[in-house]
């Protein structure tokens, strides 16, 4: 997804009102961005607090600013700068966290980002978790307010084309139950669902936003009195599961059951790839399939 992001943000570099900041990351990924942006590409060095403050100063002067780093370095380290400098001033800064969830696998827990969406959502940023590479084009050209963009790795089943980007979209319509997945997890869920016989497949929804008012009515109608499954590579607190539960409750939509699989937390003693940590949380393709077949 990083490559597609770089391609799309490079297109915006033609316009003089866009600036790109990096916290000394992007080797073999952002070279084209650097070339296109010229003196509007600034490597701020390893100083994320300063980088966020600088982005606010630039945005206050009329620029739209992209701030890039590995996810935890760009949302957790400068948390207060994001709140005071960007959010309090409602500035058009897009904070780009590469490698959300367990994406940095072997690199260890300092490089994982499991509560990023909840914390940024709580601050009032527009949180966007693209599901597919092709989503990036619609997202990056539409930054008008504080935004957190979590990048991961896309999965697309063979011979399938995702529908065009929407913060909530149905990937497949099914007959038994509804599955909701956050961002790139949607592709894994899609793969798993395709292994289920068509007559008992659930519907699949890819969710890329944490905005309460973006939960579509058509989803609420579909899920009514059905089994609901939620998969997210994010901790339970403030995650998609809580958000959906709140919406269902506040709109008096009853469901038959909710099965929620989420990131169990930061590893302490045993480390591995993203797939390894997904499996521990029941979020790998096999575990997803097992969960979906369990209640059939």
């Amino acid at each position: 997804m990083r490559k597609e992001f770089a391609d799309q943000v490079s297109i915006l570099g033609k316009y003089a009102n866009n600036v790109f900041l990096t916290g000394d990351l992007g080797f073999m990924a952002l070279e084209e961005v650097q070339e296109v942006y010229g003196d509007r590409f600034i490597n701020c060095g390893i100083s994320e607090q300063n980088m966020i403050g600088v982005s606010a100063g630039l945005a206050k002067s009329g620029f739209t600013v992209f701030v890039y780093s590995i996810a935890p370095f760009v949302y957790a380290r400068p948390f207060e700068q994001i709140r005071n400098d960007i959010v309090f001033n409602d500035l058009p800064v897009c904070i780009v966290g590469n490698g959300g969830g367990y994406a940095y696998g072997y690199m260890g827990p300092t490089h994982h980002a499991l509560e990023d969406c909840a914390s940024m959502n709580a601050l009032g940023l527009n949180v966007i978790v693209p599901a597919f590479d092709s989503d990036l084009s619609a997202i990056v050209c539409n930054i008008t307010s504080p935004t957190y963009l979590r990048l991961g790795y896309e999965t697309i089943p063979k011979n399938k084309n995702p529908p065009i980007y929407n913060s909530w979209r149905e990937l497949e319509s099914g007959k038994q139950g509804v599955v909701v997945a956050l961002g790139p997890m949607a592709g894994l869920v899609w793969n798993a669902v395709l292994k289920i016989p068509p007559e008992i497949r659930p519907s699949i929804w890819a969710v890329c936003s944490f905005e309460l008012n973006e939960v579509p009515d058509v989803f609420l109608k579909k899920v009514k009195n059905k089994k609901l499954y939620i998969f997210e590579e994010h901790v339970i607190s403030g995650g998609l599961g809580m958000l959906i539960s709140y919406v269902l409750s506040s709109k008096n939509v009853t469901v038959e059951s909710i099965t929620h699989k989420y990131a169990i937390g930061y590893p302490k003693y045993s480390f591995g790839s993203q797939k390894y940590h997904q499996k521990e949380s029941g979020l790998d393709e096999k575990s997803i399939l097992k969960t979906l077949l369990k209640n059939k």
Partner: protein, 264 residues
């Protein structure tokens, strides 16, 4: 260079007295930190800042001094000033970037202003615009690592349109900077970053004005002002002036002392 006139001195006296009254009536603290920088802010805003410049109050706890300075310029009315630290006010104890025209950011958590100023200065550089970014910090604030991140960044990116003003009153929340976390001598440490550092008396109007007219165009500019916290208060030069609101007698003493010293 402009000259400091008697009219300005009269305005400064009125502004100091108005600021002290504002704090007294609001039963607000932080007066000590406001009195240490009011001379700097008044000279800066009355003599130096133009429409092409920006000011960032990084030491947000000196909001009262900034509000009073803006009052002296006619940018804030007396009725608004009366609402300071009261319910429904647009003038909280630390300034909001949204409520007062001309204030750019909400400050109060220390160590933010330098980076914000770096961004504003970088913007001017990219757009090839003239003007300076002035940012007022406290000396205790320099314990925040983000200040040094900004200095490294600003020197590297040749942000010579940025001026860091440091109110070195030598006192912070729970003691003197020397006792709490000493980094003396601050000026020499700042100079080691290849910046242009001037160290002047922050209560000498001529010295303040001269330092602001002595900025270099080939360096990040820093002016360290030696000041006295709570100047003219009964607890001048003491940590207590950072927190405690004035009683009636203390308020009368402060007014009398300010009047007396200005006349001298």
């Amino acid at each position: 260079m402009k000259h400091i006139t008697k009219k300005f001195k009269d305005t400064l006296l009125k502004t100091k007295l108005r600021m002290v009254r504002m704090h007294y009536e609001a039963k607000a603290g932080h007066l000590g930190s406001n009195l240490s920088c009011i001379d700097i802010l008044m000279i800066l805003h009355h003599f130096q800042i133009t429409e092409n410049d920006y000011f960032v109050l990084s030491k947000g706890h000196s909001a009262g001094a900034l509000y009073s300075t803006l009052w002296s310029l006619g940018s804030i009315s007396d009725s608004i000033l009366k609402s300071f630290s009261k319910d429904g006010t647009t003038l909280p104890g630390h300034p909001s970037g949204a409520s007062i025209p001309g204030l750019l950011f909400s400050t109060g958590s220390l160590g933010h202003g330098p980076s914000l100023s770096s961004g504003l200065a970088l913007s001017k550089k990219i757009k090839n615009e003239s003007g300076y970014i002035y940012c007022l910090c406290s000396d205790g604030e320099m314990q925040e690592g983000s200040c040094w991140e900004s200095i490294i960044f600003s020197v590297h990116n040749q942000l010579h349109n940025m001026v860091l003003l440091i109110d070195q009153n030598g006192l912070q929340g729970f003691g003197s900077t020397e006792e709490v976390v000493s980094y003396s001598d601050l000026s020499s440490r700042l100079k080691s970053f290849n910046t242009h550092v001037q160290t002047v008396n922050g209560h000498n109007l001529k010295e303040i004005l001269l330092s602001l007219n002595n900025l270099r165009k080939d360096r990040l500019n820093i002016v360290v002002f030696n000041t006295v916290k709570g100047k003219f208060l009964h607890n001048e030069g003491k940590v207590e002036s950072h927190y405690l609101p004035l009683t009636k007698n203390q308020y009368k003493f402060a007014c009398s002392n300010i009047n007396k010293n200005i006349l001298e």
